[in-house]
């Protein structure tokens, strides 16, 4: 199924709190067996990563950072996991060896704070999210005012939210809600033009490639996480 209901009680695994997460399972090359600690934290999250195209596009752009895809659909996340395992095996003697990317079957709308500490992330991607066209399904959209407060918690100050969609109405919705949120500020076309991630986002995802083949439009909006105001 293309759709997945984020409100359902999926049989999902999620840590009780960020410190209890066993990241070593996902990034064994970054797990220090002596200290049983990770040598670094996940820093970039692809929310709703689909078939993993963006992760693959970003892996060599950020070779020294850990990237995580979160995908709620079980068949899709399994596909990506198998894909990464195969790539790690095939490229294990090479410089780009895919050890810094991983995928989790997870519901980010519900459990993002269970995975990530305050200010842990530098980038969050929302590529071609489910538009949930019906009015009464808008609460299920991945960008809402209330969810943005939780994304702002996980993002460090100066961190970036990237959005892209081929549905103009959804684009407008995301822009409207991000503009309305006090912790986010739009980055302009000039910034978009010089940012490598925007280019990768345009071209690397399976959905993006499909839209391009069909000569459809793609709508991008990027936002910076502002400093928390003094309260």
């Amino acid at each position: 199924r293309a759709h997945s209901n984020p409100f359902s009680d999926h049989r999902l695994d999620y840590p009780k709190y960020p410190e209890s997460m066993d990241w070593g399972k996902f990034y064994p090359a970054y797990h220090d067996k002596e200290t049983n600690q990770m040598t670094q934290d996940v820093e970039i999250a692809d929310i709703g990563c689909g078939y993993g195209g963006l992760l693959l596009g970003l892996t060599k752009e950020f070779p020294d950072k850990l990237l995580l895809g979160m995908e709620i659909r079980v068949q899709v996340s399994q596909y990506v996991e198998d894909r990464i395992i195969a790539l790690r095996e095939k490229h294990k003697k090479q410089k780009v060896n895919y050890q810094n990317i991983a995928v989790i079957r997870g519901n980010a709308m519900k459990f993002l704070p269970n995975f990530f500490k305050k200010g842990q992330l530098s980038k969050m991607f929302f590529c071609f999210p489910d538009p949930h066209f019906k009015q009464r399904k808008h609460k299920a959209r991945i960008i809402t005012n209330t969810l943005l407060s939780e994304y702002a918690y996980a993002l460090r100050e100066g961190g970036i939210i990237y959005t892209i969609t081929d549905v103009e109405d959804l684009h407008k919705w995301m822009v409207e809600h991000l503009e309305d949120h006090p912790l986010f500020e739009r980055l302009d076309k000039e910034w978009e033009a010089q940012d490598k991630c925007v280019e990768i986002m345009y071209n690397a995802t399976e959905e993006g490639q499909k839209v391009a083949r069909n000569k459809g439009s793609k709508w991008v909006a990027c936002y910076k996480r502002l400093p928390t105001p003094t309260i």
């Binding site: 519900k110 704070p113 939780e150 702002a152 105001p229």
Partner: protein, 418 residues
């Protein structure tokens, strides 16, 4: 027989009780009825209104089409596409529709009482005037997009903070101004799963909102800058049903829910201070009704514990569990641990629990209607006003089959089939 009270709240002088769509106020001095309110809004009536509005809207569309310059064939085609929706009437076997008044909350100055209605998904705000023949004066009825299910009070008793079953939280002024159009309400914060409790806390001159949900989350947000999340209190393994600040120290938080344990937190500094496992205390009080529903039962199923309500008096914490004939009495020690003082037998299960001065009052699942418990010493005491109040309860039913669900909290437990 009398239907048990479903929600109760008390001051030192008065008891507030709901049963079905009735709200009653009794003097605790003599059991006299001093206030009463009946929710006459019929949820079916709501549907009638919605249907009529829809019908009128379609009628307008028809008029516009017929007055346009469209060619005849196109008009005929579009006319045939316009369907008048059938009025939705529940069929046989449809689940019963309950019209509760739920969630009573008093402002700390005891000037206002706030409740929630299922009939039209509203909060109802009453000004309390004990000089009137009926102390309940409805000053506001605010409709929400989704059923409200928890209430707290902020801003020095001027703002109601309301959580709904969709996980959204709204703030509503406690005043006599007209209600806000529900379509114009914007949530101040949210969860993705059902919100179960909301508290407003204060520390060093700042206000915070604490919200709990079905997915084991307790979120601490700044208020009124609710777009800034302070942190989450992680530790629960199941839904949270009840959160309270113990009255002797509001920087502490006690929580309970579908776990076997209750928890003590330093909520400002995000520290879990203590927990206490209740199972050994209550095992003897659990019965067949505490097993999972038949279709989820396995060989290894255990009876499930569900905290319904936690109330406090100083360092004393009282815990009510769902459908058991006992009340648990804990002390928060100087070193911020829990110790169990007593497991008190009560004659019948209690549906709700509240505190009034040096007494607990339980809404009893029995003809006695109320159970009175002295705090020191901790024991059930006979109180003759219970029988006076029982007579005044307006809901007579012929059998327990006519009871509204009294023990529904444990339905919050997630039971995944896929």
């Amino acid at each position: 027989m009398k239907h048990p009270f479903q929600n109760i709240e008390a001051t030192s002088t008065h008891l507030f009780a709901t049963v079905k769509n009735s709200l009653q106020v009794f003097s605790l001095n003599d059991g006299i009825l001093v206030g009463e309110w009946l929710d006459t809004v019929d949820s079916q009536q709501n549907l009638v209104k919605q249907h009529q509005a829809k019908f009128e809207q379609l009628q307008k569309q028809e008029d516009i089409k017929s007055s346009s310059e469209e060619p005849e064939t196109k008009r005929a085609e579009s006319n045939s596409k316009t369907k008048i929706p059938k009025f939705p009437t529940p069929g046989p076997g449809a689940p019963p529709i309950y019209n509760y008044i739920r969630c009573l909350e008093l402002t700390s100055d005891e000037k206002y009482l706030i409740g929630t209605t299922d009939s039209d998904k509203s909060i109802i705000i009453f000004e309390l005037d004990f000089n009137s023949a009926n102390c309940l004066k409805l000053v506001k009825r605010q409709v929400f997009p989704k059923r409200p299910c928890s209430i707290s009070v902020a801003d020095n008793n001027t703002t109601a903070v309301v959580g709904d079953k969709f996980g959204d939280v709204y703030k509503i002024p406690i005043d006599c101004e007209p209600p806000i159009d529900e379509k114009l309400l914007k949530p101040i914060l949210g969860h993705v799963s059902m919100l179960t409790d909301v508290l407003v806390g204060e520390n060093e001159g700042r206000q915070y909102i604490l919200t709990s949900d079905r997915d084991e989350h307790i979120k601490v947000s700044h208020y009124p800058q609710t777009f800034v999340v302070k942190h989450w209190l992680f530790g629960h393994d199941e839904f949270i049903s009840s959160m309270i600040f113990p009255s002797f120290d509001k920087t502490l938080l006690v929580t309970g829910g579908g776990d076997d344990s209750i928890y003590l937190w330093d909520w400002i500094h995000n520290k879990a201070l203590a927990s206490f496992n209740l199972r050994s205390l209550v095992e003897a009080y659990l019965n067949e009704s505490h097993y999972p529903p038949e279709r989820f039962r396995t060989e290894t199923s255990v009876k499930e514990i569900c905290v319904v309500k936690i109330v406090s008096s100083g360092r004393k914490i009282f815990v009510l569990l769902e459908n058991v004939t006992c009340v648990l009495y804990f002390t928060i020690n100087e070193d911020l641990t829990f110790s169990i003082d007593k497991v008190l037998d009560v004659p019948h299960p209690l549906v709700d629990l509240t505190i009034s001065e040096n007494q607990l009052i339980g809404a009893s699942d029995s003809e006695n209607i109320l159970t009175f418990i002295n705090i020191d010493p901790f024991e059930v005491v006979h109180n003759e006003i219970s029988s006076k109040i029982a007579v005044l309860n307006p809901c007579d039913v012929s059998s327990r089959d006519d009871f509204y669900p009294l023990y529904a909290m444990n339905n919050l437990r997630k039971r995944s089939e896929h």
